[in-house]
Subunit: 339 residues, 2 copies
């Protein structure tokens, strides 16, 4: 506790890392974007309208970049990586659409959620449409092993979401139980997105396992940093997009740590605000204050660094290359990012 | 109009037809049921609880029976038809879970819907889980063409649902527009379920096309009869499960016909009750009365017979066999059933 870790104070380094990776895979990512636009077309106008709202909302396209960079690192020379990367982004987008319905979220990435603009019903159905299109796209690659990995990830993600729903609002959730949830709901897709890069390059043994491990640990680190950022990260001030998890009563690692380290009175505060959902003016500020008192945000980042280190070590079996460097630097970005 | 068609009055014939088919594919359907139970397992207890509520709720398992009977008719000797039939049932179940959320349905097959017992959130997520498992299951068969057909059906179903959502509450929907909706949301899965029986039997040409056509037309007929039954079919009395579509403000073929054939005053009635959603005591009875006045229910069944005839003719290229007979008789069942 009390370890000083850079979060939101070393922005330059993280930003350069992702910019480097983006520059490296730019032509492929342009092809992925073209493919996404082409494949979300439908005669039913509401479908591309709703889908493009989310797909064009300025996400970083991290997951498809993993597929591209992993396949390039494995010397892939074909064109199926484009389709698989688009598949991964469709699957991710479908998940976000359904998540926003399940979490009753009003805002995402600073914009109104699709469900606020088109309704819950359309969000559920367009999510299903994108899942169908994702599977259709990946079948075109004819890579049965990649298909298996992605189909498996799709069930695991949903399983993680149900787990989270069942555990929701329980402030006494253990760190282990929380890790099981995010391993499924976030890390499984990062793992699949990375592993399929090796699989289509016919590197199914150690290299596929290494990329799976890289993606999985990167995903966990990514989610933990997300959890900390939702409470403003290390900065004491709350930004405009912070506090969403608190308002939705979500139990994340900063809450798990602050609850366990807190006094009886503090635990009552967490139970009232998150378990019973009785939130009042000033409660969010109190929550952040308690997190700082117990170094819950800092230590969430320390935990993230642990998974980040595992991700980087997993890549060590690959020979040195610009792709390996970029994937390594991406871990830094995910941990040091401040948005 | 005014043609007398048997509906609910020729029950024996229809019932025998489905009993015959059921007897014919009993061993395979038992294997399908075992498979379904096995593959809906999860460490997250809510998943099998919720899924089995719907899967064990006494559905007729029509769609997986199509896959089994079609493959047997094509002399299939392997075991992938079991997996594909289970895939089809999972996909169907996922669709029902999401449908009930989208339609805000309280009851299905005379029982409370999963969303009433476990909530909308769990229904969305368990639906996603079943979709993931469906894809995982079908990947195991390694039949890329079957994968393509099912993945395609999955997007088309969702597209049909969005189409319906966009057209919802519009009493001036044309019969053509309505047919487009049900071709996508209902008939696409019947078509896929039938066609994959030919595909795994290596009968990809005319026979796959014939089974696709059979399934598609059977699906349309099935949906039209469903629409009529929701208003009590030809019987004047309303049964205990009738009136759901009216209460949900759904535009179905009986409404399309009654609206178009009605007077200005009657059209105002449909606009008030379905378009504006202002429904009062006695409105359902009035709706049924108007449908009888304009033979809307009878003619919906006449339309269904047209598609049923197309389904039967599509099968004619197959040599005579007990499976062809059973699939032919199934069309009669779907049209003559009274539940």
């Amino acid at each position: 506790m009390g370890v000083v870790v850079p979060l939101g104070e070393d922005r330059g380094r993280g930003q350069n890392a992702v910019a480097e990776l983006q520059a490296l895979v730019r032509p492929e990512m342009e092809a992925v974007n073209d493919f996404i636009r082409e494949r979300m077309a439908s005669d039913v106008p509401m479908i591309p309208e709703l889908a493009s709202h989310l797909i064009n909302s300025g996400g970083k396209r991290l997951r498809p970049m993993l597929t591209i960079a992993a396949s390039k690192m494995c010397d892939y020379t074909g064109s199926d990586h484009i389709k698989l990367a688009a598949t991964v982004e469709f699957l991710h987008t479908a998940t976000l659409l359904h998540d926003d319905v399940v979490d009753e979220s009003d805002m995402r990435r600073g914009s109104k959620t699709a469900r606020m603009l088109w309704g819950n019903q359309a969000s559920v159905l367009v999510g299903d449409f994108l899942l169908g299109r994702a599977f259709k796209l990946m079948v075109e690659t004819k890579s049965l092993r990649a298909l298996e990995i992605i189909a498996d990830a799709a069930s695991i993600i949903a399983e993680g979401e149900v787990m989270q729903l069942a555990a929701a609002k329980d402030t006494s959730t253990t760190e282990d139980a929380y890790l099981r949830v995010i391993s499924a709901k976030t890390a499984a897709l990062f793992a699949a997105a990375s592993e399929i890069g090796a699989v289509i390059s016919k590197r199914e043994g150690n290299e596929a396992a290494a990329l799976h491990s890289y993606g999985r640990n990167l995903g966990i680190a990514f989610q933990l940093v997300d959890d900390a950022l939702d409470y403003g990260g290390r900065a004491a001030a709350l930004g405009k997009n912070t506090g969403d998890d608190f308002r939705e009563g979500k139990i994340t690692l900063p809450v798990v740590l602050a609850f366990r380290r807190g006094t009886a009175e503090e635990r009552s505060f967490w139970e009232r605000t998150l378990q019973q959902g009785d939130r009042q003016e000033g409660d969010l500020e109190r929550a952040v204050e308690l997190m700082h008192r117990h170094s819950a945000l800092e230590d969430t980042i320390v935990r993230a660094r642990h998974y980040g280190a595992m991700a980087i070590d997993a890549l060590a079996i690959f020979p040195e290359s610009k792709y390996r460097d970029a994937l390594t630097a991406l871990v830094e970005f995910c941990i040091n990012r401040n948005h």
